[in-house]
């Protein structure tokens, strides 16, 4: 029997679509069972595409428009416990409204896949990109990935279910997409066939943890001090184990679909012999690449390292790549008030990662693009100038610099 889904995706094709639409298509290709929506900009574009795919009969799922983000995440949490493949998402304060549900989803080891359309945490009102919303789950047991292109959004979504639903992992997966720059901007995307995806992505099997009358288990009883540490440690083992699963799935994805970076965790750009390395996440890489190409033409040894997985954080790979450089400039599209260096979240993770190196590079922090403010090529030039000064003088005058702020 040919389904509408198989018919729609019978042949591989190129489409001009946004990151949100790419993820909606991934939902259809993955045959997701339960999807919940609640409107908040900018993530909600994905649900507009999902609802149309459902309306047209291409995506056969329960599509529930919840009455709040909290319910949105609770519904998929429970659907996942029964064995259904799930998808939901949110942005900014909506993501925070769901935070209780988000917290327990990881604690219960439920492989929910969510899209975060990164948005500033208003008030004051702002719906441009900022990474603090998604970063808030960094200590909870969620895998956390930052996307740079619409193609990558589709690809990682397909991998996300595969990784999250691996019985050795069983952890939720958040796909972070920069608001507007990725959720709304269109690019050419290769859309695979239904057949290819079916071969790559097996059905979700909850196994002996499935909540069903044939398997009458009790989920999440009170454990208190008797068992909580053991359970926390099991979750830790799962997160540690996800590293191997991510590598395996990434390799298989590259073989099946013929695309993807060599590393699932980081993307290197002009890193060979780089003395100064910029580090960042998400769509920030676009202006950085343009600036770097010009600098390289001028003979400057500058490279860019894009961190894709924030959780699990690829510390080993980053250390290997940065062991020889002179200085690292971390560009944060987020901020952590009162943090050790009054800097960004990525910056502190990076400095902690680089601390064990025998020869530590200078690590500087740049706060840029908050609330969706554009990061321009000249901003990147300015950042590299500051880093160059640290390299030349051998000292860092100021650890954290805010870029492009009015006096």
């Amino acid at each position: 029997m040919t389904t509408a889904l198989a018919e729609q995706f019978a042949v591989a094709k190129e489409e001009l679509i946004s990151g949100s639409e790419a993820i909606a298509i991934a939902c259809a290709l993955a045959d997701v069972d339960v999807i919940t929506a609640y409107p908040i900009r900018p993530y909600d574009t994905v649900m507009q595409y999902v609802s149309k795919l459902k309306a047209d009969g291409i995506l056969d799922c329960e599509f529930i428009v919840a009455e709040s983000e909290h319910s949105q995440f609770e519904i998929v949490k429970h659907a996942s416990a029964v064995g259904a493949r799930t998808f939901c998402g949110s942005s900014g304060v909506g993501w925070f409204y769901a935070f209780e549900a988000i917290t327990v989803t990881a604690g219960l080891r439920l492989p929910v896949v969510a899209m975060v359309g990164n948005r500033a945490l208003d008030d004051p009102g702002a719906f441009g990109v900022e990474h603090n919303d998604a970063l808030a789950v960094r200590d909870l047991g969620w895998m956390l990935y930052w996307v740079a292109t619409a193609q990558e959004a589709l690809d990682i979504a397909l991998m996300a279910w595969r990784i999250a639903e691996d019985s050795g992992v069983f952890l939720p997966f958040a796909i972070s997409c920069d608001g507007s720059f990725l959720t709304h901007s269109q690019a050419i995307v290769n859309v695979p066939t239904h057949d290819q995806v079916q071969k790559f992505l097996p059905a979700y099997d909850r196994g002996k943890l499935q909540l069903h009358p044939d398997n009458p288990i009790t989920i999440a009883p009170q454990v208190n001090e008797d068992w909580l540490m053991e359970i926390r440690m099991q979750t830790d083992q799962a997160m540690r184990g996800s590293v191997g699963v991510i590598k395996k799935v990434h390799e298989e994805f590259r073989t099946t679909f013929g695309r993807g970076d060599p590393s699932p965790f980081i993307e290197e750009y002009m890193m060979e012999d780089a003395e100064i390395v910029l580090v960042g996440m998400g769509t920030l890489s676009l202006p950085v690449r343009v600036a770097l190409r010009r600098m390289r033409e001028a003979g400057k040894k500058v490279g860019f390292l894009r961190v894709k997985y924030f959780r699990p954080f690829p510390a080993d790979e980053i250390r290997q790549v940065l062991s020889e450089c002179k200085a690292v400039g971390v560009i944060d599209r987020d901020y952590s008030y009162g943090s050790p260096s009054f800097g960004g979240v990525l910056f502190h993770e990076m400095r902690s990662t680089l601390y064990p190196l025998e020869r530590r590079p200078h690590v500087l922090n740049f706060i840029a693009g908050l609330g969706g403010r554009e990061v321009l090529v000249k901003d990147v030039d300015h950042i590299v100038d500051i880093i160059q000064q640290a390299v030349d003088t051998g000292t860092v005058d100021q650890e954290t610099t805010w870029i492009g702020v009015r006096e």
Binding site: V34, E74, I75, A79, A101, P216, T218, I219, Q222
Partner: protein, 330 residues
């Protein structure tokens, strides 16, 4: 719509199923009526059920790691999430059965919550659940009239004047809880005209209770039952009187037993007899004076209490149920 269970009405208390779905292993207080409500609920529903319970006494006192009392599959949900938990569970079953990912068979979905989780925090999620005609589910709100698991704090479902750890009588303010108990079941019935079954219940009337559970599970679509559960710890009385206090709540007219089924209200048991004028309501003082939580009430307070109950029977459009009436034409 997914298949519905075949659960016929039970004729006579001796025909209530012997099979238990909620057994030993819990640590509820002596005289806990909510524990009885759980036991009757799953006796009525049977083993082909999934039960989801939100935070509260019936989570914390019931389910301890390695000693669960639940014979059926059971899962915890967050305090305000009984509606979402039921929706998510039912949606997963429906989707997977339709797509052939799971055997297509009737499975009851029941989510329970306390009055704090239901009438307060979880109200919006329950409201949303009751709008989804395509999902067969039951939300059971066991109402012990306080946040009883966290040391007895006042909730929106606590009675006026009740002493709780957040509403203790003091030298300046004798009455710290000035709110009148929320009229939850009719609020949900009025707000969700497509919902086919909403009822009130009380564990003191076991046969009536089990049959209400069965009607809720077999009528189709989302349903809601609100039960009043005397609580020895929170209400401050000797545990042996739980059953009697449940009956007194009904006989004084403070609690009204009814079903709202396909748009019709059916009063049950003593409430029906009172409404027909066959039997008189007992004075509320008989109920209030049996409980330590009302010990600080003065005669005037009790008179006020009685007047409010009288008003609900004499002035409301539908006695004890609908708290408004059409404007009288001049």
């Amino acid at each position: 719509m997914t298949l519905l269970s075949d659960l016929p009405q039970i004729k006579g208390v001796k025909n209530i199923p012997l099979q238990e779905g909620y057994t030993s292993g819990h640590r509820t207080c002596q005289g806990c009526e909510s524990a009885l409500v759980m036991r009757l609920m799953i006796k009525a529903a049977g083993p082909r059920s999934i039960v989801v319970g939100s935070t509260g006494c019936m989570y914390v006192a019931n389910t301890t790691y390695y000693s669960t009392p639940w014979v059926v599959p059971w899962m915890h949900t967050q305090l305000g999430s009984s509606g979402s938990a039921a929706t998510g569970t039912a949606a997963a079953l429906r989707s997977m059965m339709r797509k052939g990912k799971m055997k297509d068979e009737p499975i009851n979905v029941i989510a329970f919550c306390g009055d704090g989780g239901g009438a307060d925090m979880g109200l919006s999620a329950i409201s949303a659940a009751l709008q989804h005609d395509e999902y067969n589910l039951l939300i059971l709100m066991y109402d012990n009239e306080s946040y009883a698991n966290t040391d007895i704090q006042v909730s929106g479902s606590s009675p006026w004047g009740a002493n709780s750890t957040f509403s203790p009588p003091g030298t300046k303010h004798r009455i710290m809880n000035n709110r009148w108990k929320k009229n939850t079941a009719p609020m949900l019935a009025t707000g969700h005209p497509n919902c086919r079954y909403i009822a009130t219940a009380c564990g003191s009337y076991g046969l009536d209770f089990t049959n209400k559970i069965r009607r809720a599970l077999t009528i189709g679509g989302p349903t809601f039952i609100h039960s009043i559960d005397p609580c020895p710890k929170g209400w401050d009385y000797d545990p042996k009187y739980s059953h009697e206090l449940g009956m007194l709540a009904v006989e004084t007219g403070l609690w009204v037993q009814y079903e709202i089924m396909d748009g019709e209200v059916i009063l049950n048991g003593p409430s029906r007899v009172i409404a027909k004028g066959i039997r008189k309501r007992k004075p509320v003082s008989e109920y209030l004076k049996r409980q330590g939580r009302f010990a600080h009430l003065t005669d005037e307070d009790i008179e006020y209490f009685q007047s409010k109950v009288d008003e609900s029977w004499e002035k409301w459009w539908l006695p004890g149920v609908v708290p408004f009436r059409p404007q009288e034409e001049e």
